[in-house]
């Protein structure tokens, strides 16, 4: 009984974050900000729902599977986000006009595919 | 739900065929994908749709108690998905090659053989 209600809470929370994620992707102004919404809320939403599943079934096999789902999303989602965000940035998907800073700008060489680090950090790091 | 599925499948068929009728071979591929999905869903729908009773025998038992969804239809659909996938993979590469050889994606320019 209690467990069911707890499960209900988890799935409600999960669904809520899912909604947030999709609202984010719907509303946010540029690619990278949209990705903030999806990467985090997607993982969290799915994770919470899986917690609900764990609680509802109370079974070791199910728990293992639900944990696996959580682990898989946690592993894959940021990698996918990295791949797509990086690609999007490099091919020149425009950033939101209210973006205040871009330290990456101009540091990627299209010919050699070298991504330079900022000069001040280079110096600092090179000190032994 | 059958009614809605019927409408859905009809839409799939229509969309598939509309895409296949375009001049761009690239759209043809999309049409083929939709067509394959439509046919599979059709089998699924007419075989009868049951909610939440997968044809899995519980652990340690030999029989399913109570009703279960039609496993034969599922097996058939599975096979047909796989075949559809294979054929589609071939079609994709074919169209890629054709575009490469003919240097266009316009079907209207691929009528030298008739």
């Amino acid at each position: 009984m209690i467990i069911d209600i707890l499960a209900a809470f988890f799935i409600a929370a999960g669904s809520f974050f899912m909604l947030v994620a999709s609202l984010g992707v719907f509303r946010m102004p540029d690619l990278l900000t949209r990705m903030h919404a999806t990467t985090k809320s997607g993982v969290l939403g799915a994770g919470l729902i899986m917690c609900g599943v764990m609680l509802f079934f109370v079974d070791s096999g199910v728990t293992l599977k639900a944990l696996a789902v959580m682990a898989f999303t946690t592993l894959t989602s940021p990698i996918a986000a990295h791949a797509i965000g990086r690609a999007g940035y490099f091919i020149g998907v425009p950033l939101w006009d209210k973006t205040i800073k871009d330290e990456l700008h101009g540091r990627y060489d299209e010919e050699t595919h070298v991504l330079r680090s900022p000069e001040h950090l280079q110096d600092k790091q090179d000190k032994p | 739900m059958t009614t809605l599925m019927a409408i859905l499948i009809g839409t799939f068929y229509a969309a598939a065929i509309y895409m296949m009728l375009r001049r761009s071979v690239v759209k043809l591929v999309i049409g083929l994908i939709l067509l394959s999905n439509a046919a599979n869903l059709l089998i699924f729908t007419v075989a009868g749709m049951d909610r939440g009773i997968p044809p899995l025998i519980p652990k340690g038992e030999l029989l399913i108690e109570g009703p279960a969804a039609d496993p034969l239809a599922q097996a058939v659909i599975l096979t047909s998905i796989v075949i559809g996938f294979g054929v589609l993979a071939f079609a994709v590469v074919l169209i890629h090659r054709a575009c490469e050889v003919v240097q266009t994606d316009d079907m209207n320019e691929m009528k030298g053989t008739d």
Binding site: H82, A83, I91 | L56, L78, V82, V93
Partner: protein, 147 residues
Amino acid sequence: MKPRRFNMRSLILNTGSSLLLPLLVLFSLFLLLRGHDEPGGGFIGGLVAAAAVALKLFAEDYKAARDMLRVHPLQLVGIGLVLAAVASLPPLFVGESFFTAQWWSLDLPIFGELKLSTPLLFDIGVFLGVIGTVLTVVFTLAEAEHS
């Protein structure tokens, strides 16, 4: 705006994919072996395994993926086909109809009773065949990029 070019090589992606790769392969074997009792089976397992190699290809390059597989995917297809076809033959030697399932029980010290069967052999054939096919297509296309 003129599209810019960039390179897929990314440390994060490379490392991430090499973390995920064993996981995917393991998972595919898991799906293959449990298929007879739980959702899964040769086809599903094969697709996951193929996806794993494809990931390698996408995250690194064609050569890395090709090296990882060692054999040519078309050979994999051949082996898969032979296994699947051969799995249909054993019953003929015991006077049963073509494709009749044969089950052998093996008692192993640690794993306990291991059930070997022609359906399992068959499913492994399917598994290899699927991997081989998907990878043939993927590799062929990737190779074509270089030519």
